[in-house]
């Protein structure tokens, strides 16, 4: 059974799968995040035609913040 498993699974290729799978997975996940969460993207022209006009002052739209505490921001613009 062991010999069969080894010849079938090609254990030496597992690191390759880890790295390539991880890289591809992370890129696809970021692309999906951009497609679905980015306010510049419009999927539903009837019900949500311009999502970039509905931004809140305390929401975080970027993937990662270094120094920015979005919960402290206030909205100082007139309503659209």
């Amino acid at each position: 059974v062991n010999r069969f498993l080894i010849s079938f699974c090609h254990l030496q290729l597992i690191p390759l799968f880890i790295f390539i799978g991880g890289g591809a997975g992370m890129s696809m996940a970021y692309l999906a995040r951009l497609g679905l969460r980015n306010p510049d993207v419009c999927w539903d022209r009837k019900n949500n035609p311009e999502p970039w006009n509905k931004l809140g002052p305390t929401d975080q739209y970027k993937f990662y913040t270094v120094n920015m505490d979005y919960s402290k921001l206030k909205k100082d613009r007139p309503d659209f």
Partner: protein
Amino acid sequence: MAHPTQLGFQDAASPVMEELLHFHDHALMIVFMISTLVLYIIVAMVTTKLTNKYILDSQEIEIIWTVLPALILILIALPSLRILYLMDEINDPHLTIKAIGHQWYWSYEYTDYEELGFDSYMIPTQDLASGQFRLLDTDHRMVVPIESPIRMLISAEDVLHSWAVPSLGVKMDAVPGRLNQAAFIASRPGVFYGQCSEICGANHSFMPIVVEAVPLEHFEKWSSLMLEDA
């Protein structure tokens, strides 16, 4: 400004530029190490008397030279992404200045409180006073207060230009019909030079940018004087 035969970056005058400098040092050190290793291996390969014609595979070295480059790339990517996101943050600016590119000068507008606007032409070489820098100094400088986040809104009147000040770590294209936003904090007082960074015609090399960072009281005095003159 850059001095003659300068190869590296100018001294940083803003926190973002400091980060960029340190990241560049980090990446360059990695690059030097890799290049030295490769050069050593090349020399060793070329000068060795050992030859073995029957090496078929070796798992250990294959693992090492797959995992190590992956690790190095991650070590480069993580600080790089961190700085990328840091540069995009605009934390509550104290002042908004508009820089508008024309052929072939910049105009600056400080319209937060009063309507202050002026043009900034390069000083022609024959009109230079002693101590001024050729092709870099302008008649009016863009004065900003130190240690205040400044928001720059950059646009152009006619063709593409680009507003760049290397020591502040800022470069943003000036596109006609479009408003681009950039931000910086001048950490120390000083005079910082930059040049137009997008080809815009005959005098593209002759429309520099000069930013003068001064303490807040001096900035207030300067803006009152400029408003009176206008």
